[in-house]
Structure formats: structure tokens, C-alpha cells
Amino acid sequence: MRNILAELRGLFRREAESREMDEELRDYLDRAAEARVRTGIEPREARRSVRLEMGSVESLKDEISGLDWQAGVESVWRDIRFGVRLLLKRPGFTVVAALALAIGIGANTAIFSVIDALMWKRLPASRPEELYTLKRNEPGNTNEYMNYRWFERYRALTDVFADAAAITNQDRSNVTVNGASNESQVRVGLVTGNYFDVLGIKAGIGRAFTADDDRVLGGHPVAVLSYRYWQRIFGGDRAAVGRTFELNGTTYTVLGVTPGDFTGEWVGRPTDFWIPLAMLSEVLTELPLERVRGGRLNYEVLVRLRPRVSRAPAEAAAQVLYQTIWKERLGSQPELGQMRQAEQSRLELIPAMNGYSPQREMLKRPLAILTVSVGLLLLISCASVANLLIVRATGRQREIAIRLALGAGSARLLRQLLTESVMLSTLGGALGLLFAMWANSMLLGLVSAGPAQMGGGVTPDPVYLEVRPDGRMLAFTFSLSILTSVLFGLAPALRGIRSIGERSAAGLARTSLPGRALVVAQVALSLILLIGAGLFAGTLRRLQTQQLGLDRRHVLLVWTSLRQGARIFDRATPLFEQVPARLAELPGVESASASVYGLLNGSQSSGVDVAVPGRAPRADQDARALSDLVAPRYFETLGMRLVAGRDFNLRDNAKAPPVVIINEAMSRRFFGGTSPVGQRIDFGSVASNRSIAGGALGGARFEIVGVVSNAIHVGPRDRDGLMFYRPYAQDVPHLVSACLALRTAGPAATMADRVRQELRRLDSSLPVLRIDTVEQQLEDTLGQERLIAILTGFLGLAALSLACLGLYGVVSYSVARRTSEIGVRMAFGAMPDDILRMVMADTLSMVAAGIAIGMPVALAGARSIESQLYGVSATDAATVCGACGLMAAVAAIAGWLPARRAARVDPLTALRCE
């Protein structure tokens, strides 16, 4: 400690020490010289020889004082001051370079922070590495969840699991606080009482509920609020604990509020409040009791391993139980297909320390595309700045040469030059951080884009993330800045020092070769980004303008919720019968109908296997079809064509024989040219079991009564998918939601208010979640595509401008260096046009080389994004040519400016400069 203090004092005594050192060295020099004089050497010669031996006094001093850490600190400080002076001296260079770096670093930081929030952040639970979720992995079944009976059996595996909690997240919409009802949807976590204990999360205020709050069915009307919801609804009032709110007619008491950083185990879908699972029937009032308690509801199961139990034995134990459950499900005489399915099924333990999110899978591709894009952009930024540095370093050759001659070591100089790079990139990083915060809001728009889900399907919902600048983000930005500074700074620095010896040789080279190579690389990289951006823009345009198979302008869609108050079945039928009939009577409405799922709202059943007697689908052909339950006149209302057969009518009810209408795609797949009307099909588990077993389908249940034209259903890309429709009256238990459809005479949007009023008049308790046109719904569905197109377009343009900046720098520099050569040429009779042509040829040769390298790479890379494209091939000629053309045109302008300057060189002035 005393040492450190002494050294610190030393820092302030540097001057004195330096003088002392000078004196000692001078003393040494004198004595050595005197000694030589005594051997008969002339005094001046003696001094000279000793000096030679000592080498540079400066470097000796540097070496001696380099032994002290304080000197190290001091010299770095000196480098920094020197660097600041240099950067201030060239503000233009500094601003351009810092901005170039800010774009590169900022874009990467923005992507990082979103990926971090979605994938890598740990749950604020205690020992999160012990947490796992159970996942069923069964061929032909997309349901990964558990029912309650299974959950109880896994929980009993106490040798490996310390505890287990079951969770089901439900969207509700009729919350009443202080007598005021809240229209917006809330997300309710229905969880077993031990949920917070399993996670090891304590309430921020009040208390969390425990297993004791989950004993009596219907007997624990208590809730724990999330921090966000508490802020939003109770304004962060600490007195909220103990107050009540109402949900579906039951009054709940607030027990506590979770800490601010906990939004539930499902990352990207924040839970608003948690209620003990014993209150399930009170929350999900629409489900019949036996269905809830009988456990057909899907639960996510969160387990905590016992201390010192690793994943493998726990998974093995769970697997044994899983196979036992399978055997029980199949009974004593399972079919062959079922046995095979059981054999191929596994139960997996998925680490849950980072939480859980089905959207990770969905967003993997878009985020990967963006990660690669911003990586390329950063490389381009680095190349631009490296280019600027090379140009500038050549201007600094004199300074560097003098300092080398004065005895500064090249390691010392290298450190100095790198210090400048680090400062530049730190500046860029700081600006980049600001840029990233702005870009984040856009990115969060990307991940939360997509239609809000109205129905009860299993399609993943949009993601809601909160990204605030935190330590991890800062650390990332800082490390990236350092890495960047090495990337762009090292080569120019080394070159600057090395080239001193070869100065005369360098003078002969027309332009700097590394500079040209960097420009070529920049052009190539930008071209890759531009082609990618073009492909995404093309995809978006195709999706927006494609034939939907239905009328996009004259259809109004009205989503209602059946999950309110009363049980659904008394309620659903009128929505499919009387309500459309009344709406159709409104002036301006031509026809009205209804379906369960509606269009383009992101929700849908996962699809079912279809089987047709005597026509087993080929192994390579997908026999999965989507389906919907519809009211009569549905196709007419949407503007779809009935190609053959008849529409449903009111006689197709529960007592009549079951019928279906299939779309043209399905007709073609299963019946080829022949008419399917009158044929029979079957679907669901019956179909999949039999087709796996390879047997013929006996008395198939459903008769085909009609064929309709193809139309989009769930998403903008599925127009030509297999689809069939059934009359709503023949499957009342599946009427989980309802979407009314109206065909209007004028533009659909103008009817929205009128329809809303009419619905309120018909049934004031019927919630209208949303009224939208098909056109608007399509736009919402395309949110992800649109944002990918916008972001890649933005990145592409940024890359293009950076590449042109690099090109401009290199050409200007080469023109400046060749001024005298150009003067000579003109003196010998070259016309300005010749000079212009010469410089432009030089420029375009670099661009051509960049395109020649970039295009094959881009085309190869485009294959990997093929699945994200629609209507454009990955090697779309128009896009590729357009990108190349744009690149060449903008580059030509960047090169033309300095070329024109070259053409205006006055030969006399140029030669006088020499």
C-alpha cells in the first residue's frame, strides 16, 4: 500500500525524475568520454562514439521509465491527449469515421439486445440452472404440453424432482377494477400454489401465494400481480395489496406484487397476474367442468431438479413414467400405427433457466438473417474507416518517419496509432449506443409484429419484450468497439510504420493496394446486403399484391369473444345464425356469415390428417389440411367461388349426415380430374391411424357436397394449401370463437361504426374485440415480412453509402497523389475527357471486381433464406440486376466527383508543386 502511495506521489514528481535521469545519463556520458580521451582519442570523436553506443537518449529513457507502471499509465494518457488533439484537428474525418462506426456498432448492439432479452437472459429465479420444463416429443402430434393427471404423476417422481408446478396461461378480457371494466385483454397465469416456491421468487411487496392457497377448488380468490400490471392498473400504489378486482364475476384479493424483473416464465409474453389453479373453473367459465378437471386442458410443467441430480438421470426417470403412461393410453390391444408412434415418442427435459418461449423457434430465422446482415454491415464500416485511416496515415508518413528517426520504438508508435483507433471506435460505440436505442424500438416492432390473436388456436402469439440499456448491453457495445478498433486500426497502423522504409517504392504505386482491396470487399459485401434487401422487398410486394382468392376490399371481419361470463354453448349458435341474418339486413351490407377462426388472425388448429378411401396419399405428399367451421353463405360473403356442388344450408345440422366442402387444392390432390362431389373423406386421429397402418378407409364419415376456390386462410402464404370446411351446426362443441364476416357494397372500412352500433343493440354484453377489413388484416399479418424488408433495406442502403464513402476516399486520394502525373499527361496533350475516362475506368474496375466477387456469394447465401421468400426465387434475375445496377450507378457518382476534379487539374500548377 505504501508502495502504491509512493508511486502515486511519483506520478507528480515525473518532471523532477526526468531531470534526474537526464543528469545521470549526462554524467555517464562525460565519464565514458573522458576515459576514452585518456586512451588518446580526440575529445569530440570520443563523445560521438559513446553517444553511438548509448543509442538514443530518448529511447533509453523511455525504456527505463517504461519499467514503472505509473509511467505506463502516463504514456497512455499522453497517447490519449495526443490522439484527441489529432482527432480535433481533422473534425471532418473524425465525424465521418465515428458515424460510420456508430452505424455498424449500433446495429449490432440493437440486434444483440433483442436476442439477449429473448434467448439468453436468465430468469430472476434462485438457482435457475435447476429448472426444466417437460416436453412431449411425439411424431404427428404438435402438442408438447401435459394434462393435469400426467402432471400429478410426474410431480410424484420425488427421487429426481424436488418439486413441480403446472401452469396454464390464458387471455381474458373482462376485468373490473374499482367498478370500471377494462376492455383490453389480460394474460392470466393459472398456476399450482407452489409456483413461486418452485421458481424461488419472493414477492416485491405483500406476499406470493403458496401451496396452502391452492387446496379447495374454487375456494382461493387471491391473485399476485406482476410489477407491470400493478404499475398500469394500480399506478404503483403500495396500498394495492389487500384491494380487490373482479374477473368473470369472481372477486379476487391482491396478495402481493412480483419483483420488477419477473414477468413470468414465458419470455416474450408477460403475465399480468397469477391466480391459484384451484380457481380454474371460475376463470375459464366457458369450459364445462368435467373438461377442466378431467384434465384435457394443456399445462406447461416446470420442474426443479433435486440438488445434485443431473439432467440425464432425471430425464431417464421421467422417460420410464412417460412410456408407462403411453401403454395405459393405448390399452391392451393397440393398433400397429399407435404402437409405432409410442415407440418413437420421447419425453424431454428442456432447460428453463432462461425461461421458456415457443417464439424463439419462430423468430430464429428472421433474427439470424438480421444478425448476418448487421455483421456484414459492421465489416463494411470497419473497411470504410480502415480506408480513411490508410489515406490519412499516408499523409502522416512524415510525422511517423520523424518520430521513428528520433528513436521512438515501433512498438511504441503502434500503441500510439492503436490508441487513436480505440478512441475513434469508443466514440463510434457511444454514438452507436444512442443509435441502438432508437433502432431497438423498431426491432421490438419486428418481434411483436403479427396479428393479435383473437381465437384459441395454438399458433404462437407475437412477442412483447422490454429492452432497456443494461450492463450486458454496455459490455457488449464496449467489447465490440474494442474488437472493431483492432479490425480497422491494426492493418493501417502496421502499414503506416512499415511503409516508411519503402517510401520511395510506395511513391511509385498509383494507389494503395490495400485500399483498393478494401473497396472491392466493401462493394462485394454491400452487394450481398442489397440483393438480400431486394429479395425481401420483392417478397413483401408479392404478398401484398397477390390474388387472395377472395374480395379484399368489400369484406368486413368482426371478432367477438365467447369467453365471457356465461358458458359458450347457449351463446354460440345465435352468433352463427340470428346475428348474421340481422346484420345482412343493414343497408349497405350485401350478405353476412360467420366462421370459427376468421381470416388472417394468426390462430388456427394445427391441421388434421385427411384420408380418402382408396386413395392413400403418396409418402412424400402432405395430407394435412386446415379446417374451419362456417355458417351458410360464407363463401359468397367472402367472394370465393363455388366450383362444384352446393353451399351449406340450415338443414346441415347435428341430425343430418355429416358433410364437408373442400377447396380446389384438396380436390386436385386427392381426386385429380374427377369430380369429388358425392365422395367420402375422413380426418383426424381416425385418418392418421389408418393411413399409418396402411389399411383402407372403410365407412368414411364425411360426404363431400361442394368444392370452393382456393383462398388464403391463416397467413398470406397459404392460399394453395389443403383446406376444408364443415357446417358449424355439426360440431357445436368446437365453436370456441366466432368471427362475423360481412360483404359490403362500398369500401368495407366505412361500415365499421354502423356494424358496431348494431351489434351493441342486438346484445350489449357481446364484446367486439376488433373490426377490420381483409386488407388491413393482411397488412397486420405481414408485419414481420414488412419489418424484415424495411430493416434489410435500411441496412443495405447504409452499406451502400459506406461503400461509396470508401470508394470516394480511395479515388480522391489516388487523384491527389497522381496530380503531377496528370499534369504531365495534360502537358503532353491529354484532354480533360481522357483524364476523366482514365479515373472512371479505374473506379469502375474496382466496382466490377466487387460485383464479380459479391454476386456468387450473394446467390449462394440467398439459398439459405429461400424459405423466407415468397413469389421470388432466390436467384431472381431482376433483383440481382437491380442491385448490381444500383451499386454501379451510385459508385459511379462517388467516383465521378474526384474524377472531375482530376480533369480540371491545371498542368502548370500541378508541375510547379513538384
Binding site: 545519463l25 554524467d27 553506443e53 533509453l60
Partner: protein, 108 residues
């Protein structure tokens, strides 16, 4: 002839064991005693002195020298004396070992 790695510190300490000296004097003394076999230039002498001073093996003092000039004199500290002892012992052990290996080679 270049010095064996790491021996310069030992030579300096040994030289100063007799009496305090200034930097030039140290270099001259090493050359004299070794009869010109070991020559230490300023390029290695000054950093070595600085190192030893920093590590507390040497103390320094400005004094008036024999010809009435100010000079920086270096002297051994207690720690320096101890280091010299251990270094000498280690050196003897090492050279004896090395000598045995070299002689072994010659006899064969």
C-alpha cells in the same frame, strides 16, 4: 560476449558489495574484474539498475564524486545483500552441474 541471461543483476550486486559506486563506475568495475570478458553497455546497465532500485535491492544517493562532480551512487540494501547470497549459491550449484555435464561429454 553477451552475458548469460539473468546474470547481470548478480554481477551488479556483487560489484556493489564492496562499496557504493555510480553507474559508469559499475560498468568499468565489471569489465576490470572480468578482465574485459564481461562488458556492460549503458543500454542494459541503466534498465537493470532501475529494476534493482525499484525492487528495493539497491538504494541511491546523490553524492559529490572524487573529481568534485555530482553523481548518483548506488549501494546494496539488506535485501540486496540477501539476494546476492542466494543468487551466488544458486549460481555455484548450477555451474557445477553444468560443468559436470560438459566434462562427462568430453570423457566419452
Amino acid at each position: 560476449m553477451t552475458l548469460v541471461q539473468g546474470t547481470l543483476d548478480m554481477l551488479i550486486l556483487k560489484t556493489l558489495a564492496l562499496e557504493p559506486l555510480h553507474s559508469y563506475g559499475i560498468g568499468v568495475r565489471i569489465a576490470q574484474i572480468s578482465q574485459g570478458v564481461c562488458e556492460v553497455g549503458p543500454g542494459s546497465l541503466f534498465p537493470a539498475l532501475r529494476r534493482l532500485e525499484r525492487s528495493g535491492h539497491l538504494s541511491t544517493k546523490w553524492r559529490i564524486s572524487e573529481n568534485n562532480r555530482r553523481a548518483k551512487y548506488y549501494a546494496l540494501t539488506a535485501a540486496g545483500r540477501k539476494k546476492l547470497e542466494t543468487e551466488t549459491r544458486d549460481w555455484e550449484l548450477q555451474t557445477a552441474g553444468i560443468a559436470r555435464i560438459l566434462l562427462e561429454g568430453r570423457n566419452a
